[in-house]
């Protein structure tokens, strides 16, 4: 990983609150133009890490660089942030509210007006523009909050659990926008504990647990390194092969097939040959990769 092309670099970051260490000796690099998943269970230190990247809090030790510079309030204008704990001014009209948040990122005047209208139209909220945000449903409020994070067209977008509480239709709408932004060359940090979502969206991931990094890399690499040489099978016959401990170390039977773990030294090819030799009818033969979910569970529980 080259740090030259990295949008965000954390170098041995530590942050404590009194006795409690929220982030401990964390180093990571977020590459430009990619979606970086910051994963971990609740309380792992994700939000604290993000707050340090956006300059809300400062680390006790270590260095943070964003866009190759040390973070300053001026750089904040190039970052968009959708916090997990988020809200709107209840009694303020949606349109005014968005203009205010745009002004906080130094987007003002006509430019701000145009962007507000564009995004409200895109997210089908135009008719709510002059309603107070307390009149909006939760899902609509969440979309408004999403607009506040992107209205200044940030080069770095940080989304903390952006989909929590959204219905599937709106999840798809936001996902589409996120992928568009990625295509436009923006860097996105995506924090979540929902592994299914991360698996579909992220290019790279970093798993933190109990304030420490336990895993980092591209989704491909991570999965490959966790590949357990497992094969999913649906067979008619060939039972003798499955009993052969020379090939197979473990068999798990499901309702519509079996999952086998190959013994050391055995390859899928040899298993296939043996099965054919045993005259089994093979309906399914598939190498299984571990899901991010499995890796997450394995990593998080092994550390306990």
């Amino acid at each position: 990983m080259t740090n030259d092309s990295a949008t965000v670099v954390l170098d041995h970051i530590t942050k404590s609150f009194g006795e409690f260490t929220a982030v401990s000796d964390l180093s990571l690099a977020v590459r430009a133009g990619r979606i970086y998943g910051l994963l971990g269970p609740n309380g792992a230190g994700k939000t604290t890490t993000i707050r340090m990247i956006v300059n809300i809090t400062a680390p006790d030790s270590g260095w943070i660089t964003v866009f190759g510079q040390q973070i300053t309030p001026e750089l904040q204008d190039r970052i968009g942030y959708l916090p997990e704990e988020r809200g709107l001014y209840k009694k303020m009209k949606v349109g005014e509210q968005l203009k205010f948040f745009a002004a906080l990122k130094n987007v003002t005047g006509k430019e701000a007006d145009q962007r507000v209208d564009r995004w409200l139209t895109r997210l089908k909220l135009m008719e709510w523009k002059s309603k107070k945000s307390s009149e909006l449903s939760k899902g609509m409020q969440q979309k408004v909050q999403f607009i506040t994070a992107i209205i200044h067209e940030p080069e770095l977008l940080i989304l903390d659990e952006p989909f929590s509480g959204l219905d599937p239709v709106n999840v798809e709408v936001l996902k589409e926008i996120i992928l568009e932004l990625k295509a436009a060359g923006k860097t996105i940090i995506f924090s979540t504990h929902q592994m299914e979502v991360a698996e579909k969206i992220c290019d790279d991931i970093c798993l933190i647990n109990r304030s420490r990094k336990v895993l980092e890399g591209s989704i491909r690499e991570v999965k490959r390194s966790f590949s357990r040489n497992a094969v999913a099978l649906r067979l008619v016959g060939g039972e003798s092969v499955l009993e052969d401990r020379a090939f197979i170390s473990n068999v798990q039977r499901h309702s519509d097939g079996v999952e086998v773990l190959l013994a050391e030294g055995a390859t899928p090819q040899t298993l296939l040959k043996e099965l054919l030799a045993a005259d089994a009818t093979i309906e399914r033969f598939e190498m299984i990769e571990p899901s991010l979910h499995d890796i997450f569970i394995e990593k998080v529980t092994e550390n306990v």
Binding site: N55, I56, Q76, G87, L88, F101, L104
Partner: protein
Amino acid sequence: MNKLVAIIKREYLQKVRTKFFVIMTILGPLMLVVFTIVPGLLFSMKAGGDTRIAIVDQTEGVKLYDSIRNSLLKLERDQENNKQPGIADTANGTTKERMETAGKSMTGNFQVEQVNSGRRSLDEIKRELNARIGRDELDGYLVIPPDILSNSESKASYYGRNVGDVFTRGQIEDRLNSAVRRQRLIKEGVKDQDVDALSEPVDLATYPVNEKGEEGAEDSGAGFAMVFIIAFLIYITILLYGQVVLGAIIEEKETRIAEILFSSTRPIQIMFGKLIGVSLMALTQLMIWGVAFAAIALYVMPAMAAQGFEDINLPHLPPFFFVYFFLFFLLGYFMYAAIYVLVGSMVTTAQEGGQLAMPVVFLLVAGLYLAFPVIRAPNSSFAFWVSMVPFFAPITMMVRIISQTPPFWQIALSLLIGIVTVVLLLWLASRIYRIGMLMYGKKATIPEVLRWVKQS
């Protein structure tokens, strides 16, 4: 800088458009009137019917009964001649006059009866009268000792159900006094008709003299009312807008907006944006009141005077007064607003905020109460020290400036102490604000808050 302007603008525009602001702008002056005039009116109310009094006159030949009775009943006739004092009179009179008119009308009517002692002993009579009071046939009775005219040590006694009504008691004492005095004078040979002329009370007119030795126009007591109104105005606006600041801080914490704000600009800029925004809202309101007041003084009052209403003499306020008012108001506002920011950053809900802010309100109320002794002796050392305490200065120093302007160095010193306090409080508030606003879930403890202050 643009961001600061955006925050100020949002805070100001959103707040000025609220119903709260509109209602307060209209109700504020009304409240002021209610708080200053209504207590006086309430005092002058006497609920219930006539006061029934029996008089046990033990003097030889029962010389005093008629006199006292006349005194008590004459009072009613006086009142009928005067009619009820109007509100304008009440508000305009000196405190002493006000108390007296209030006292007069308060006593209501008397019903007086004589008790014939016959051959009964005083104890017997008293037993009977006490029983009548117990049956609520009588409100009280007066016992006049035999030697009251000759012996100055002699004491008359009043027995009554409600001796807590100091005004009625005072009237009885007053009338008794004049009756006894009258009889004593007659006894010494003064002619009956001369007594009234000799007892004529003296009118005292009051004129202020300023530090340059110039006399002002006669002060009818409106000066006192003005001082009190200004003190109350500062008190109520600081309290009100302190609460607005508290509400704004807690709103951003409760709705978690603080996190988005903090990711956009420095917390200190947000804090100042809010404080300045709310202060502009307060100044807007004060300005509306000021213009309304000036309009009444310039157009309505002369029109009323032309219509034959009594000209209410408004005290003259020199221009420097407005400068001081502005300075001390801002001083007080920022002092208490900083404390409210501090409180708002520590709590999680508006209710908790209200509880924790109670001591702050007490501090402000104390300032208002201290204004009373200061009005009475604006240049005493007590007034000096009290106006140097930054938390009281906005009210107490203002009271001194209006009633008897202290030397400039004292005003400057009070301002300086205030400004230093404000700077320290704002610094402290900003340290707690930037961390407290991101702490959700529970109210912060004092050790935690102290750690926040030290935290970089």
